[in-house]
Subunit: 230 residues, 2 copies
Amino acid sequence: MGENIGAAARAMLNFGLSGMRLVAPRDGWPNPKAKAMASGAAAVIDGVRVFDTVAEAVADCDHVVATTARQRGLFLPVHTPQTVGTELQKWSGEGRRTAMLFGAEKTGLETDELAMADALVTIPVNPDFSSLNLAQAVLLLAYEWSQAGGQSPLFESPYEEAPASRGVQEGMVEHLFEALDRAGYFYPEEKRATLQRNIRTLFTNAQLTEPETRLFRGMVRQLMRHLPEK
Amino acid sequence: MGENIGAAARAMLNFGLSGMRLVAPRDGWPNPKAKAMASGAAAVIDGVRVFDTVAEAVADCDHVVATTARQRGLFLPVHTPQTVGTELQKWSGEGRRTAMLFGAEKTGLETDELAMADALVTIPVNPDFSSLNLAQAVLLLAYEWSQAGGQSPLFESPYEEAPASRGVQEGMVEHLFEALDRAGYFYPEEKRATLQRNIRTLFTNAQLTEPETRLFRGMVRQLMRHLPEK
């Protein structure tokens, strides 16, 4: 909804964030209701970039944290808003590109979208009344990000040791999926989604560097020479 | 406005607060718009107590903190939301009655009303875009109150699991080497030692857990079905 997008833009700017990306907005883009609701934060709306999928939206990001109220069986680290604010600031301080990922007002993020992140963050609300709207969730995370901004990074990490960007990691994982597909690994078909999710989080947790992803893809390429065509 | 009262009730209940008091509400009381907006937090609205003045509203309270964007020359301690959350929890733990005081949406609290408090709290917003609505201010303070109370996360991270033992990791790596060998990956033979070393450190750095090593070996096993015997 345009109103939610506008309210989220306000909440971001309240704590100094301005780079907003949207994935497949329901009512298309631009959306006059978003701009009207954003009011003084219209500049955030003017700078919005729109993408078709979550994967494309985060392709150039090095670290992605996704908000969720439930764990959905994913093997990813789970943060509070406070610890994630600290992590995001630490990464930014190292020159890494970071993103916070939020789902639509009613439905939240799908499990496959959560699996694109390298960490989950859950807001510790009252379990008996846990319905936060989208802009409130954005507000709390932007607030904690801003709070953590006073802290300097715990230690410097040389660039070569940093994990590859999400897009590079995703390219490697898709390459592996193609090989596994040709090898008949995703069987029965109903298990495909779960297997792919678990494999994706395995590699996310592994935090491979870019040279490591090249090494890995070299292995996959050679294995594929022996696999039947699909 | 009834809508602001209802939204504030929701924000309170999101973080476990339920005792709301109103001072001279503009549209009288009860207000159907407040209850409609409160939705699942209607119980907070039903429990509202109404007073004519701030002094009467806080008469039975031992500690009152008042929200303000400006200090207005008052000689009162100024807190951040975080430090005030800690103070309020400490006072509650000593059996003291505490209150947070918020002004109307447009105008905030008057200087004489702030002077009824024994501490001020100001939310560290972006100075270039500082307009928070009432419910958002309530949300942030209720959140910090809840945080200071040691609110536990809704779910624990499953990713506490330690990396698999060296032996388990080495078994996985040897399994992969066997597959790569059968695929003719180690070519020319002189490069074998370097390639194996780089692959081994890739997986050492990845710090896979034991379930992840089993997942990985499952992939290797299936790929091997398509590889020539050595």
